[in-house]
Symmetry: C2
Subunit: 519 residues, 2 copies
């Protein structure tokens, strides 16, 4: 293709490919038709269609968490972006690189304020590390390269590139060369030395880990530090990706509820942060501290999210002369799947016994799933992905994106029913792409987390209030919902049925949904 | 209840009720639990739960379009608001009054930037005529009254009230008295006289009507003007609500596509705007005018949306000494429902024959429905509601809200399949509330409008591009999708089946979905 005759859309597709971005999750509209047309003229881009923008953005997040490089989105004008914002918010909290492409009104059409015109930039900016509206065809390629650089510079983030339709269809597109991400800064030596002094003080100290500090190499260093100094290790509550299971170093999570966290951390005098800002509870509660650690604890920073966390932990471990540790033994402790009543612990036991080797677990199990994470520390080696920004409706999209990123691995989506309804359209994309995803819907027919929260703030038992938290009237029937979107499905009403279906689903090709009825 | 011991949430509920806002579409989270708890202590608020925020905001829009007064929403933090923005964008374009209540992090918790913290105000402002974050319990009531005043002042709009959780749970709430909407300005006499001169000039003139100019009284005046001066009458393309059908004054719509509009308006020398800004095509196209009327036409403004449109039209008709007209005869011209192939015209003929008296039609039929509006001008008297802002996924939520507003009327949702998938969760709320809604899904299994648009910009026939517009792999099966959410459903594969199901559905209590398979 001759560059001088390229249009802006073609220069965009070629630049994305040249920069290694070869996957696009899309829900296009009229203003994106030149991008869509360019896909036929420039081969190499895998496009995955989502029936709703929240599916698209959550999938781009899940893809990058597993693939380690960004996908592009393709969204339609301000309202299309708006539909994808909640999962871009989650991606922002996960520090996930996403190339968020939003088509928009032509530059000269915008002043007419046609019906779909909206404040596209204004909506994009709060979730983005980088936002730009291209205004000429010739600048689309360089803007795309800059977006990718910004998205991939540590710790990673959403780069929003807004493309008026005329800059896509005008000729004069120029393909831009890839720009390397900015270098990741290393922590200064005196910071490492200072943290070593805190750890040698003998005071009870917590090392709180997040982001890339949860990768195995970094976690091995953190375990060295803990073993040598008696420091406590915890990860933050919601994490983008944790590699764990048999044969891997493990770390517990900071509990979601402040009371439980403070109880666990009683007596802690120092908190050392590794890749996380100062932690706070998800919400405030009347008369309770927003801090999940003791009020009088001193807070220190070993490394910020944008710094080299693995390097900082390794240097700190060396500074402390902490001996290297062997990897944990890879022995399955409890090989029996769960039985008896359908409880969180029983399901966790089944996951522990039956999780396929190399699985990717996407956990949006909310209240019912409290036993899943601690109960699977000994399961086959796997990655565990969570909703990082508290915006529910990310589980199924994350699973979709992860499955596109890793076609050889089984994806297990542990999905609360209330949250699953936000973006159930993701099931259709799983069927369309024939992805190996096992969806387990935990059907308790209520916003159980909110019943807990209501009790903790209002102590009401009135019908009007409780009706707002009850999604069991009528019951959602997930088997027809799934089959209506082309996903085979079955219902489990006992642990025996669940174990059988779960093992069967994980062996088969393509997606399968199990509705596990919580009594 | 003693005001001095009220908390902020209680003062909010009581103020809403005192101001006549007694319906709330809700998808609450933790930060809204005090509002939810207050519902039990202060009776009178009808709460309708939506499983997704786009359902909630679209329903609030549909409710107010029919009821003529606003409902409240209840949304959870920035991401919950974000999920509702697309339909708030539509409400903004419809000038619909909505009291958009968004719970948020406690004032003192916000600086901790906990996971769900987002730029709630920044996201709300572009869709709102009024945005405020309350910062004390004592100011919640007065803020609510001010929000209602702003929402109800002509032409109407979205008022966003953001409530940090502590201002809801703190005591000191004060109930505020209702504030009347600001008066609607009347058009100046010289403007009326000037428009009369334009109309008497003998030049071909278009009167373009929107908003309240489409109510029957205003439309009667517009028809007087047209009859007396040979002016052309058209409404804008997408309208919030049009009262029409047998025995009512009718008006055609400006075509969606610019080419068709310009063809229709060939020779027009003057465009007089009544309640609409200068019209533009939905999108720009290479080398085509953004104006749907002739380039050399003069544009005049009789009245802006915020002015009294019915008054302006009546005075203009009087100024022209235009005779009063009798209402059109109420005779059904073509009583046979459609037969033969399943075409837009055949379905329109069935709607014309079978529409129940007093029905509310919600039209998100997109491409397939092109014959529906012109074909039902002679149907039983009804209201016709459209998606006003081009953000698809509004049809089912609008139908939900309209049905809550008018329980004695049948609601007919004419729903394209691609758009319907955006907010299909609305079906569950219809089942839960046992609403008399007939949903007709026009299942053509593609984004047909985009295939048209792609042809007009790219002329591509490649597989990658066309795959992005094809939602038929796998086919969506709407009968299981509906039954999975508690809505009875059946499939029609012929006009005879459709006619039978449509008549049956409209007679029964509660919702029913018909999947009409477009060959």
């Amino acid at each position: 293709m001759n560059e001088t005759s390229m249009n802006g859309a073609e220069s965009l597709v070629q630049t994305l490919l040249d920069c290694g971005v070869d996957t696009c999750f899309a829900n296009p509209g009229t203003s994106e038709m030149h991008f869509v047309a360019a896909l036929d003229r420039i081969p190499g881009m895998r496009c995955v269609l989502g029936l709703f923008e929240g599916v698209v953005t959550g999938a781009a997040d899940g893809y990058a968490r597993i693939k380690g490089k960004p996908a592009a989105t393709l969204l339609h004008c301000g309202p299309g972006l708006a539909n994808g914002l909640a999962n871009l918010h989650n991606a922002r909290r996960a520090n996930t690189p996403v190339i968020n492409i939003v088509g928009d009104q032509a530059t000269y059409h915008r002043p007419f304020d046609a019906p779909l015109t909206a404040d596209t930039e204004g909506w994009a900016r709060p979730v983005s590390v980088w936002t730009r509206t291209a205004t000429t065809a010739g600048s689309v390629g360089s803007a795309a390269a800059a977006a990718i650089q910004a998205a991939c510079t540590a710790p990673g983030g959403v780069a929003s590139l807004i493309l008026p339709s005329d800059v896509c269809w005008d000729v004069g597109g120029l393909v831009a060369a890839p720009l390397a991400p900015l270098p990741t800064p290393r922590v200064a030596p005196d910071v490492v030395a200072q943290m070593a002094r805190v750890l040698r003080s003998g005071q009870p100290t917590l090392l709180l880990l997040a982001g890339r500090a949860l990768e195995q190499e970094a976690l091995a260093s953190a375990q060295r530090i803990a073993a040598a100094t008696d420091a406590r290790l915890l990860s933050t509550t919601s994490n983008a990706r944790v590699a764990r299971g048999r044969g891997r170093f493990a770390v517990e999570r900071l509990p979601y509820f402040g009371d439980k966290a403070r109880e666990l951390l009683t007596g802690i005098a120092n908190v050392i942060l590794v890749g996380t800002p100062v932690p706070a509870t998800f919400f405030a509660y009347p008369g309770k501290s927003p801090r999940p650690y003791p009020q009088d604890a001193a807070v220190h920073v070993l490394a910020r999210a944008e710094e080299d966390l693995a390097d900082a932990l390794a240097r700190l471990a060396d500074e402390l002369n902490a001996p290297h540790l062997p990897a944990p033994a890879a022995v399955l402790v409890n090989p029996q799947p769960g039985s008896g009543a359908i409880t969180s612990a029983a399901v966790a036991q089944s996951l522990n016994a039956l999780l396929p080797e190399g699985a990717i677990v996407v956990d949006e199990s909310v209240s019912f799933g409290h036993a899943f994470y601690p109960g699977t520390v000994n399961a086959a080696a796997h990655d565990w992905l969570q909703v990082t920004g508290g915006a529910i409706g990310d589980g199924l999209p994350l699973a979709l994106g992860a499955a596109i990123a890793a076609p050889q691995r089984r994806v297990i989506a542990l999905q609360a029913d209330g949250s699953g309804m936000y973006t159930l359209q993701a099931l259709w994309s799983m069927a369309r792409e024939k992805l190996d995803v096992t969806v387990v819907v935990l059907a308790n027919r209520k916003y159980a987390i909110l019943q807990h929260e209501l009790a903790s703030v209002g102590a009401t038992t009135g019908k009007t209030a409780l009706d707002m938290l009850d999604i069991g009237n009528p019951d959602l029937a997930w088997v027809p919902l799934a089959t209506g979107m082309g996903v085979a499905a079955a219902r489990a009403e006992s642990m025996a049925q669940f174990n059988e279906l779960f093992a069967m689903a994980n062996r088969q090709t393509g997606p399968f949904l199990i509705e596990l009825v919580i009594p």
